[in-house]
């Protein structure tokens, strides 16, 4: 995802000052059994919560972040922080996900580098960062870790799970792995599996990191980092998050700080300068090994694996009501992928709504201000809440107040 802070209204309501918390579990002799079969522990999960948990614990919204996101969805760690969380436009008092009504939880994904266990974490056995000794994790493993966090927080029912892109994959995984826990699900701009095209872009990005001499088989902590490789990986990612139309509008063929070609390999065009800037900024906050692990997890994901190869059979395990949203100019996870999911949900008799939002900004559109998206999410959550309360009043579902 990219940074769009210029779009924020500084006067808008906010959750205010928030705190990142940590939960550690699966410490030896206990462990987390991963999908690969590897046993891993201890596991630390960084998370944040906003809003107030209702006495009936029936107002929980779990947000699942995308590839390079983190637990910092909204608010600021310090009142004078320059930037708020990555979905400040959607999460806060009176917003699409209204923190006056809902208790919002978001945790950093397993394998990440924003506080949860990942390749840059210290391996207690050696006292050194794991590097490539960190096990390869999957979307399923991320969800297992999130489930452990919810158990710790004493939450057994989710009003909704919401996430875009790789976060949307986790939404899908949640619905089929823990169907009894999820009342509603909002997968945004996502796909039930990566296309060859999506895998190809990820592989080029990984190769870029691994080709950086500083990468050193993942063993670069405490030394020069593979910044060039990671920056290029980010540049590739960025191109896939935009669209032809968005780039034409934003940059066209305009030159950067010059009136004619340099006739050398400086950044002549604005688009080059922009990508270089995004790459440089990214390396300040992200770990190259984490990028390898997380892109691999996204490539491995295939929801049909939960249904012995059939997407419909996988969705047949789900109980949630779905709101699927795609964006017209998203060519990384295009509308056709969302329709494929919707089709399988219909075959499985699930209650599903689907909307394709007209947007020119490509895959990143789900992170941009969209009154339409806010209105959809607000209305859907409102309905879920009404239905949950009605169901609880009838004493159905085994999760009554």
């Amino acid at each position: 995802m990219s940074e769009y802070l210029s779009e924020l209204d500084p006067g808008a309501a906010s959750v205010g000052v928030v705190e990142k918390k940590f939960y550690t579990c699966a410490a030896p002799p206990s462990c987390l059994v991963l999908e690969s079969g590897a046993r891993f522990g201890p596991v630390t999960i960084a998370y944040e919560t906003y809003g107030t948990l209702a006495p009936g614990r029936d107002n929980v919204v779990l947000i699942l972040h995308a590839l390079t996101g983190d637990s910092h969805v909204a608010g600021r760690y310090r009142a004078d922080d320059a930037k708020p969380g990555w979905w400040e436009i959607m999460v806060g008092p009176g917003k699409g996900i209204d923190t006056d009504r809902y208790f919002v939880i978001c945790s950093n994904i397993l394998g990440g580098c924003m506080g949860s266990s990942g390749p840059s974490s210290i391996n207690p056995a050696t006292g050194e960062p794991y590097g490539l000794d960190f096990p390869v994790v999957t979307i399923g493993d991320m969800v297992t870790a999130q489930k452990a966090l919810l158990d710790h927080l004493g939450i057994s029912r989710l009003l909704a799970v919401i996430g875009g892109s790789v976060g949307g994959m986790q939404v899908l995984e949640w619905c089929v792995r823990f169907p009894e826990m999820v009342a509603g699900a909002i997968p945004l701009a996502t796909t039930p599996r990566h296309s060859a095209l999506a895998i190809a872009f990820n592989e080029v990005a990984r190769q870029s990191i691994m080709a950086d001499p500083n990468w050193n088989q993942g063993n670069y902590y405490g030394a020069a980092k593979p910044n060039m490789g990671l920056a290029v990986a980010r540049m590739i990612g960025h191109v896939t998050y935009l669209s032809d139309e968005a780039m034409r509008r934003k940059f066209g063929r305009q030159l950067q700080d010059r009136s004619s070609f340099s006739f050398n390999f400086d950044a002549d065009f604005q688009v080059e300068s922009y990508l270089r800037y995004q790459g440089t900024k990214f390396v300040e906050r992200f770990d190259a090994n984490s990028f390898l692990y997380l892109t691999k997890a996204a490539d491995y994901f295939d929801l049909a694996d939960r249904g012995e190869g059939s997407l419909a059979a996988a969705f047949a395990k789900a109980r949630a009501r779905f709101l699927v949203v795609s964006f017209t100019s998203d060519w990384l996870y295009p509308t056709a992928r969302s329709r494929k999911m919707v089709q399988a949900m219909k075959k499985s008799g699930l209650d599903v709504s689907f909307c394709e939002i007209e947007a020119e900004w490509g895959h990143d559109a789900f992170l941009l201000p969209s009154p339409r998206l806010s209105e959809l999410i607000r209305g859907f959550l409102d309905r879920l809440e009404r239905e949950e309360r009605r169901q609880a009043a009838r004493g159905e579902g085994g999760h009554a107040l």
Binding site: V352, S353, C355
Partner: protein
């Protein structure tokens, strides 16, 4: 709510599973959900209308009804509603066949092109009829089919489709009010509404 939708709503029993094709802003689904506790789904092509429906708490899919219906398993719904859309469908026979596959009952309503005003316009003015119920000129109309109550009955007989119930109505005041036409329906009704069931045999529940 439109008078034809009021009639359709009266045919649907509480708690039924309903699919509304071309549901627009979701008026019928919303009414049926609130008053009869139905489990409803709508299909609508336009993003703004779909968003309006979802925002008001309905389950609606954005898409083309001709392709969307194909995904549902057999008898997925108690009722499938096609209100005032049949005249815009390219392949009515195959669509209705598909609807009878996914629904126990299918409700179809359409403007009756054989209403006497239409006949007079054609006869005296020699022009394609334009009325409150058919407000389009020949060049901008989305209505690609000319259907009459009599034609539709003939169609059901030929296709072996069972007509469980049929009503012809005459509407006024922006279609919000109206009455049922019993006598000379094909001449006097502005709309026909049919409740269809697949195959022969006795009346269902």
């Amino acid at each position: 709510m439109r008078f034809d939708l009021q009639i359709i709503a009266s045919w649907i029993e509480p708690g039924a599973k309903v699919l509304d094709l071309g549901c627009g802003e979701g008026n019928l689904l919303y009414y049926l959900t609130e008053t009869k506790g139905i489990r409803g789904t709508g299909i609508e092509r336009r993003e703004d209308k779909v968003a309006q429906c979802i925002a008001s708490g309905l389950s609606v899919l954005q898409g083309d009804l001709n392709t969307e219906v194909a995904d549902y398993p057999d008898h997925a719904f108690d009722y499938v509603i096609l209100s005032q859309t049949l005249q815009q469908v390219y392949e009515p026979a195959s669509l209705i066949g598909e609807l009878l596959r996914i629904g126990r009952r299918v409700i179809v309503s359409f403007p009756n092109f054989a209403h006497w005003r239409n006949r007079l316009q054609l006869l005296w003015a020699g022009r394609a009829p334009v009325s409150e119920h058919l407000p389009y000129e020949w060049h901008d109309t989305p209505n690609i089919r000319v259907i009459t109550v009599r034609d539709f009955k003939r169609f059901t007989r030929r296709m072996g489709i069972r007509v469980v119930k049929e009503v012809a109505i005459n509407t006024h005041h922006h279609n919000e009010q109206g009455h049922i036409v019993h006598f000379l329906a094909n001449l006097r009704a502005t709309y026909g509404i049919f409740l269809l069931g697949s195959g022969g045999g006795g009346e269902g529940r």
